[in-house]
């Protein structure tokens, strides 16, 4: 717990640039001289951020220290592999035009969802996320069948074919969506947390969003409200380095997202998202705070292997960068951990892969065979009442 306490040694001085200098000051080439000039002639000084935030590096945690059983660790491995195989197959089905619309794949980020699922009380705690939602849905225990059927737009889908890839929901698993408008679901997460506190049910809310959402105002409003109202919420930035095609340094004046917590007076930390155990540990700590109605901010450093969506040509990054990142693959890391810890041998893990592949294949068959929604279902669930559109 102590490690989470933010040490504020910040001497934050508001930077007040003269208008005429702002343009030059913001370009790299002349920044140095502009700042020097500022320091010479003004009482206004550049920001001096010397805040340190705790971090959760990869490879630092043993599952037993985290209170996880061997089965849980094998479960983490299983769900990561299931997500990977599920999405690979989904990608193929998209190419075969079985899936329409957008398809945002999570491959590379599986440790985030797997570590999260291991840290929370599923069915008590709530999760809300953005449109890259297949991974967390499967990690929370939603079936590959209902998820694949939803991608296919079928009536057995987790949202009855009304939501699609971006809008997975499960009341049972307390997945409050799958949301397509970047950042807009984060205030909703605040409300979910508000209700947990209001009802006193002990639950907390995990609100996931990408680095691209950090610039959205609603997130900041939500953090401010959470701080004021002491809401049991964790704001979780899944930083996969690209907002669609825009690298974080191109989108933000300041890329140390943990520093955002300072403005709202909430704790923050950063975790290596390629290690599910590190993610689990970080979340355990943050959840403990949330249960005491202390909202917080967690930045998970992760990486997506595929494009923003299936149609993304990925011109914004090099193949070398991608290959380098893939060397730190979360599934390979977990496989090594399992074998190193003697939880299972290679053959056993191969069997896991075989069964996962089967499970995914079956999910495709299930989705294929599921019915398309009846046309009259178009009016269903617009309102609570069943007689919509009310007037024939």
């Amino acid at each position: 717990m102590a490690v989470l306490i933010v040490e504020r040694r910040a001497k934050v001085v508001q930077r007040k640039r003269a208008k005429s200098k702002s343009s030059t000051a913001s370009t790299n080439g002349s920044a140095g001289s502009a700042l020097e000039s500022l320091e010479k002639h003004s009482v206004v000084k550049p920001v001096d951020i010397s805040v340190s935030f705790p971090g959760y590096p990869a490879g630092s945690y043993n599952h037993r220290d985290l209170g996880l059983t061997d089965e849980t660790v094998l479960g983490i491995y299983h769900t990561m592999l299931l997500q990977r195989r599920f999405e690979q197959r989904a990608n193929q089905m998209y190419g075969k035009q079985k899936i329409g619309g957008f398809l945002h794949l999570y491959i590379g980020q599986e440790a985030v969802s797997a570590g999260t699922a291991a840290a929370i009380e599923i069915g008590k705690d709530s999760v809300i996320t953005a449109y890259r939602d297949h991974g967390i849905a499967l990690a929370l225990g939603m079936s590959a069948d209902e998820c694949m059927a939803e991608l296919f737009g079928k009536t057995d889908g987790c949202s009855k074919g009304k939501g699609g890839s971006m809008h997975f929901f499960s009341r049972e698993k307390r997945l409050f969506g799958g949301h397509g408008i970047v950042g807009a679901h984060v205030p909703v997460g605040g409300g979910i947390a508000f209700a947990h506190k209001y009802k006193g049910d002990g639950g907390v809310c995990l609100a996931f969003y990408g680095d691209g959402a950090v610039g959205q105002g609603g997130i900041h409003e939500a953090m401010n409200l959470a701080s004021l109202l002491k809401l049991p919420i964790i704001f979780i930035i899944e930083n996969n380095e690209y907002a669609m095609g825009t690298a974080t340094h191109r989108a933000f004046g300041h890329t140390e997202f943990t520093h955002l917590s300072v403005g709202y007076d909430i704790p923050a930390s950063q975790v290596d998202g390629m290690d599910a155990l590190s993610v689990c540990k970080a979340l355990q700590d943050h959840i403990a705070m949330a249960r005491e109605f202390q909202p917080s901010l967690l930045e998970i450093k992760t990486y997506r292997y595929l494009g923003h969506s299936v149609s993304d040509p990925q011109k914004y990054r090099t193949k070398e960068e991608l290959d380098q990142k893939k060397e730190d693959d979360p599934i390979i890391r977990m496989k090594a951990y399992v074998i190193d810890e003697g939880l299972a041998d290679n053959d056993a893990l191969d069997l896991v892969d075989t069964s996962v592949k089967k499970e995914v294949k079956a999910a495709v068959d299930f989705a294929e065979n599921s019915e398309t929604p009846d046309l009259e279902k178009i009016f269903e669930n617009v309102y609570e009442e069943n007689d919509y559109p009310f007037l024939a």
């Binding site: 807009a184 409003e221 939500a222």
Partner: protein, 327 residues
């Protein structure tokens, strides 16, 4: 029955419902310590405490979204916008999240929430503070839109809105807050959403209006009566679902219709009502449906321009005469 101001009727509705159901809470700017920017929530902090009557910072997007999440997670929030003009920074929360989550989740999550506040023109406040938002929100399936014109309707409809399991956009009027009227003191006084009221029966022409402009419509009707005509006036009360049957039944009788609407005319409630009239009772129309609306401009500041901007009683009166072919 008690004589209450419009704002007191709203307060009575909220108070009675909050006494009845612990899951209801009120949130918004200045609703608690300040007792409400328009004194609608006066005294409610004292009665219900800061856990249920909650001040927010000025962050409509944040607290609107918070309301949606709370509604998804089992509560029944009342979110007050100081005025609906300020809802536009939160519009995504209303027309995407509140309105569509039930649908997108295949019915797994309902969003029983009331967004309420002052709507429409309120004098020399210029363009950003005089918007009539009903057509903007009424266009969204999944939302209900309610616009009472008098204290009794305000109470009955707000109670109905709070009890409704759908997101409701509840439109009040700053200029009506002080209006007094007889209000039912029945703790279960519910006016069903989606029912228009025939405010005056007549046979010569149907005048349709809602909210603040309803009172202008009644003045027009009085003038028509003086001139020897027999107008029927319909107060829509609910914009969505629209009680088009009451309107069309009236037009079947009168064969003519003038719609008064404080909104800008393009793609507005008046255009929707007019469209539905021609769709449903075309063969009963003796003259084109005429609209009398705000000018198709932003609201101006200058007093004379603002007066000119509003749908005038004289214009509506002349429109009625034209519709009856008596000019």
């Amino acid at each position: 029955m008690a004589v209450l101001q419009f704002r007191e009727a709203l307060r009575a509705a909220m108070t009675e419902e909050m006494e009845r159901d612990d899951t209801i809470f009120l949130m918004g700017e200045e609703v608690a310590q300040y007792n409400g920017a328009y004194k609608v929530s006066e005294g409610m902090l004292d009665q219900f405490g800061p856990e249920r009557v909650i001040d927010t910072p000025i962050s409509e997007s944040g607290f609107s979204g918070l309301g949606v999440g709370a509604a998804m997670n089992g509560l029944r929030p009342i979110i007050e916008f100081m005025t609906w003009n300020f809802s536009f920074v939160a519009i995504d929360q209303i027309l995407n999240n509140a309105a569509k989550i039930r649908y997108m989740s295949g019915g797994q999550f309902k969003v029983p929430i009331v967004f309420r506040g002052a709507n429409g023109a309120a004098g020399q406040l210029a363009a950003t503070h005089n918007t009539s938002v009903e057509s903007i929100y009424a266009t969204v399936p999944g939302l209900k839109v309610v616009a009472p014109s008098n204290p009794d309707d305000a109470k009955g409809l707000l109670k109905a809105s709070i009890r409704d399991d759908n997101p409701v956009v509840f439109l009040e009027s700053e200029v009506l807050y002080g209006m007094k009227g007889e209000v039912s003191d029945d703790k279960d006084y519910i006016i069903p959403i989606g029912k228009a009221r025939i405010a005056r029966e007549g046979k010569d022409i149907t005048i349709v209006a809602h909210g603040n402009v309803y009172w202008r419509a009644m003045n027009v009707a009085d003038r028509l009566v003086e001139a020897g005509y027999d107008p029927e006036v319909i107060d829509l009360r609910t914009i969505r679902p629209l009680d088009i049957n009451t309107v069309t039944e009236s037009v079947r009788k009168t064969n003519r219709c003038v719609i008064m609407d404080e909104s800008n005319p393009f793609a507005s409630i008046s255009s929707e009502v007019a469209y539905q009239i021609q769709e449903r009772v075309f063969d009963h129309l003796d003259s084109p449906v005429i609209r009398v609306t705000a000018k198709d401009t932003p609201a101006p500041f200058a007093k004379n321009l603002m007066d000119h901007y509003m749908p005038s009683e004289e214009d509506a009166y002349q429109a009625c005469l034209r519709a009856m072919y008596v000019t």
